[in-house]
């Protein structure tokens, strides 16, 4: 594939596609609460949702991929904070380092920003529109609509093909 694939416009998308795309972000929030003590949980939930829905349509796959990858930074930030807490307070049984509380404040700010952007992207997805996150939006676009976009396995539904050469 060498050309860009045209982005679908809101009126071209089915209601189901819009709901699935919206649910990719909602999945983050649902798993976010459960994932607070174990920050990798929401990433796993998001990955599972992405792998289940990535073949439904490019629009859904784009949003699932963006929702999944965009939470990598905040998940890493949260994991590092939890790791620091477990390491000092539980394993080493030492006072938390000086940097811990400012780090928690930083993590809270980043998580709140991420939630705000996700809600915005979620609302747009429900309307059949796209919102590009920094880096991850461009990455998702390149993956599903760019010149080297991955093929969706539509062929799986059409196993009968003409002989080669025709």
């Amino acid at each position: 594939m060498t050309e860009r694939i045209a982005l679908p416009q809101p009126h071209e998308l089915s209601r189901r596609e819009k709901e699935d795309a919206m649910a990719a972000y909602l999945m983050n929030f649902a798993a976010w609460g459960a994932g607070l003590p174990l920050p990798s949980l929401n990433l796993i939930a998001s990955a599972v949702y992405y792998f289940i829905n990535r073949r439904k349509s490019r629009f859904v796959a784009f949003h699932c991929f963006q929702a999944f990858t965009s939470q990598l930074p905040t998940t890493l930030i949260n994991m590092f904070g939890v790791g620091m807490f477990v390491d000092f307070a539980i394993i080493l049984q030492k006072p938390l380092p000086k940097i811990f509380w400012p780090y928690v404040a930083f993590a809270v700010i980043m998580n709140l920003l991420y939630v705000a952007f996700s809600i915005y992207a979620c609302v747009l997805a429900a309307k059949g529109r796209v919102h590009y996150f920094l880096v991850f939006g461009r990455w998702a676009y390149a993956k599903y609509y760019g010149p080297n976009a991955v093929p969706l396995d539509g062929q799986a539904d059409r196993p009968n093909l003409p002989p080669s050469g025709y």
Binding site: P73, P95, A105, F106, I109, M110, L134, R138
Partner: protein, 271 residues
């Protein structure tokens, strides 16, 4: 590539937020000022160095400490009474009694408290010893000895020293701590904390004044007394503050059930 530009932008944004949060935290007025405040310290390197110094000094103290049950039982009972009200120290507080004519009590790094028998000989009741231990425990909670060492020899030297296993250096460091004492502000903060702990432990906060008065009444020309006065400045002011707190205290004193006479008798036998 635009994606790399966006990545740089994202990283720059992260760095900006992180440094902003750190700057606000670092320069917020509540974090300035009182160097003896427990919230002021806690740098990992300092805690780690303190842990190592604690182990080194503990080895020396365990060898020299008085092990007579008549003495250790009194100390244990006092510690049990004070423990619920004492603030959280980074390391468990341990009290060692050393037989020496020195009239002093010292807080070492890592919550190690040394009480010299010279001081015990002058005190008349376990509550007075409780006041002294509460005062030294407050130094342990505030980590005053680590701050004093950090100020004197620098954190890098401290960490290097803690990393080594030199007993001779540890002994020198202990002597330096014993001889140097703390600032007036640190002493006053430790007294305030100790008197709060005493009150909360059903011990009259005025016991601090009693203990200090007994030391003060000793012979001023005695070098042992002079050492205490040098390392614990403004004894008169401290007595007055303790008396004022005692007058205002509304609690009911409960005696510490410890055999003080037996302790005194033991120390009369020890040369």
């Amino acid at each position: 590539m635009r994606i790399f530009r966006e990545l740089l932008l994202l990283l720059a944004f992260f760095a900006l937020v992180a440094s902003g949060v750190y700057c606000i935290w670092r320069f917020w007025p509540s974090h300035k000022g009182n160097p003896s405040s427990p919230s002021h310290d806690d740098s990992t390197i300092l805690v780690s160095a303190e842990g190592k110094l604690r182990e080194l000094m503990r080895k020396e103290l365990v060898v020299d400490a008085v092990r007579d049950p008549a003495v250790t039982d009194v100390v244990k009972r006092i510690q049990e009474r004070l423990a619920p009200a004492t603030g959280k120290a980074p390391y468990p507080i341990e009290v060692y009694v050393i037989d020496s004519p020195t009239i002093n009590a010292v807080c070492m790094p890592g919550g190690l408290i040394v009480v010299y028998s010279g001081l015990l000989r002058r005190l008349e009741a376990p509550e007075e010893l409780a006041a002294i231990i509460a005062h030294e425990s407050a130094h342990a909670v505030h980590r005053d000895s680590m701050h004093a060492l950090e100020r004197e020899i620098g954190i890098a030297a401290l960490f290097t020293l803690a990393g080594g296993r030199s007993d001779a250096l540890t002994t020198r460091l202990m002597r330096r701590l014993i001889g140097s004492g703390f600032s007036r502000q640190q002493e006053s903060d430790a007294d305030a904390d100790a008197e709060r702990v005493l009150g909360a432990s059903d011990i009259d906060p005025g016991m601090m004044a009693e203990a200090l008065r007994r030391i003060r009444q000793s012979d001023d020309s005695d070098p042992a007394v002079l050492q205490y006065l040098n390392t614990h400045p403004d004894i008169e002011g401290r007595i007055k503050t303790s008396e004022a707190l005692s007058a205002a205290w509304k609690g009911k004193a409960r005696p510490i059930e410890a055999d003080w006479k037996k302790l005194r008798a033991e120390f009369r036998l020890i040369k």
